[in-house]
Amino acid sequence: MNRKIISLIVCLNLAVFSGISSGQDLLIKNGTVLTVTQGTILNGDVLILNGIIEKIGKDLKAPEGIKIVDAAGKYVMPGIIDSHTHIALSGTNETGDAITPEVNMRDVLHAESPSIYTALSGGVTMVHTMHGSGNPIGGENIVLKMKWGKTSEEMIVPQAYRTLKFALGENPKRASSFTIGTPRYPQSRMGVNAIIRREFLKAKNYMEQWDRYLKAKKSKKAAKNIVPPRKDLQMEQLADMIRGKMVARCHSYRADETLEFIKLSKEFGFKIACFEHVSEAFKITKELVEEGVGISIFLDSWAYKVEASEGIAYNAAYCTKKGVLVSINSDSGERIRRLFNDAAKSMKYGGLSADEALKLITINPAIQLGVEKIAGSLEVGKHGDVAIFNEHPLSAYTACQMTVVEGEIYFDRAQYLKEREEMEKKKKEEEKKKGEKK
């Protein structure tokens, strides 16, 4: 077959399955615009130029020829942000060791994972995709935009914090028994705490070693044959934690271990951005607020495992009212398309307002990831990351209709359904033809 035809087929196929359209200028017209941080505009427009929100308001004038999306009767909200998931990766846990800060999710991005498209179908435009919870000290995580069809590099959000995964409790305790099959230290909560502490002590020692070396090297009396210390990638990462170049994201369920980890952070002077899951967060809101540490939790899943046994449905709402920065995460490539449903439950369980509920999946996770200047709400100057719903996103009857990242439409439900129908029709016709031949 002619090569050009083949390339064309490839492009068409990609287009069919991804719904990619070109252009980073977009005018969304006449929708109910839920800015999340600046109130709601009825019959409002959002103008995106070069991927950045240029204007929000009524009857906006736009450059001629700009692509227009009619959102009449629909709800326009900022793209949803998932603060904790594991999608678009080739591998989740490095099970070969309990301490693996040297591994980096950036090295194993899987830009062709269909879970990206699944995320888009639920209005998600940005994710924090993480190392698993098998190790007390896991790897470095990464923040991605869901630019389906683009390269892995184009998905990376460079503005986000560098984050390192930690894990407490049952998972790191038991990880070895179901991954490598042989028991591995640590096997208890005290062991998990002790091994993290040990590693930070090693890191401090490592930093001192380098300081001594650099000082000696500068000295006029320095011996010529002074040998530099060994560069250790594990220690380099923990040193970056101590230096404040990275922040901790710590998987923990129980209040006691969470508080112990806060103590560790004070002892070594590293910053915790967020605790993950924390079913017992409602017990320690005072400490969390004092330390300025957020939580990224499930709305459901209370009491689903031993260490979540004291979890409650009201965790998100209660903690929010106490001033903790709360986000709702999916931790899953499937639940990721229903984060708005989860957020809505915080209205039922704890009585959050609609805006408060929306914040759990937009601006709050943006703050936790250090990207609140570019995402998390519809504001002029932020990225044009938008999700459009047919009903209010917190309604039980809603479904995401369109997802836009930086002014580009990456998911369009109507177009997708149309193409799917055509394909099925075509397939049936072909099958019928085959049948007739026989």
């Binding site: 062709e112 892995s152 042989t182």
Partner: protein, 541 residues
Amino acid sequence: MRTQKISFIVSAFAAILLLALISSARVGPAYAIVNCKIVPVSGPPVANGVIIIRDGLIESLGTQDKVVIPEDAEVIKADGLHAYPGLIDAHTNFFIEPPKEEPGQRATAAVAAQPEEKNWAQDASLMAFDLLKPKKTVVDSLHMVGITTILVAAEKGIYAGQSVLLNVNGEKAEAMVIKNPVALHINFTTERGRYPSSLMGTMAFLRQSFLDTSHYSTHKSLFSSSSRGLKRPEYDPYLEALYPFAVEKRPVFFNCANLEDIKRASRLIKEFKLNSFLTGANEAWRVADLVKELNVPLLVSLDFKPPFTSIYVNQGEEMKKKAEEEIYPANAAHLHDQKVRFALTSLGLNKPSDMVKNIQKAIKAGLPREEALKAMTIVPAQLLGVGDILGSLEPGKIANIILTSGEIFDEKTKVERVFVDGISFKVKQPPKKAQPTTLDLTGKWKAAISGPMGELEVNLDIQQEVNAISGKISSDMGQWDITDGVLSGKELSFTISATIMDETIELTFNGTAEQDSIEGTISFEGGSAELKATRIPERSS
């Protein structure tokens, strides 16, 4: 008296077979290949050409009127045949038998927070040469498609050890070596049940090992320049093995199974300033810009199976099939359009014959035939640093020459004869489709082999399954296997692998069979003999 006679015959027979063996193992004599179309690759084709081979090298070549045929040269008439340089397959796992792992050696039971300090997946010091077990059947299958030179690397492990470049001139490893070692081979794989168990762990592991080698090297050089007052570096065989690659920048091959692997390799290449090759790379066209920017040699595999990470495998069976049949075969053509230089390899394919089929697919997908030829001759020769001695037909180069019945890579074209290091090899033809047969030769047979040196009595024990024939042949000279046998209608052919004084030589039989008799000729390098056999009737019980 009779015993004496037999032993005389046996030794005469053995002598002739041995003579054949000796002559084939030596560097070939002088040959003059006459009246062929020469395609030198380095220049325009020459019609009615002559190639003179002496001492394993090309002595001269040109048109018939210009090249004098030396008196001592054996003349090989090649009317209607094409002469090409032998093909080079720049990344294979042929001839490798991995070392047997002793049970219990793996440190899986370590109850420790961290695995042992040195946990090398495989040893960078592993030499493919030490694992070589050349086999006649593989040599034949390579010659059958015109491959005369192969780069051989061990297959498994993150560090898969160091490769060797071989001229496929027989089965003696030492005599085959052109270059050893060639490169360190790295796979983006993982270890089971120990660190690194994940791809991200593998990346960290590779980084740390390059860092450690560089640190080790610094320590060593400081110590050797001024050792007083400095603790000596502890000798580390693992880092010693990596030293030539991490510090002296000898070539490192990154096996890239998908486009993300190419990105992973590019990061390591840039971070550690490695002298690298990308191999496999069957998604290279999808990251052509990166590949161009990296500007490293590319050894592109002819394996067209899309990797499991590919977007084309998640869109149903139809798309997957299309990917393998149409999209991935166009990789080489796209790279050629982008002006990226590459060699083609068979990495990932099971049989050399699959390689030719896939070259044809690549050509069909738009790769010009002459570029495909270059990608298997002069380009790999130059990339592997042997462009002065291999890759084209030029005076002074190694006499790796293939004679083909037509244009290379054509579906109908057969490789008729192969010269490797000037040694002539007749090429086994691919087995014809066997005709159905009504005979069943299974059973015991008594036979006589008669040649110029006398007669030898042998016993045959034949097994037949549909058309396939196998079995044993036994005589006073020992018991040998009958292999590759085919019974097509009444036409019978098989191979005897005869072991004489620890050397193996192959005898081929061609003849006809009836239900109770077989007649035909056994041929070997340097002679032939007639075989007549009759069935030993089974005793009725």
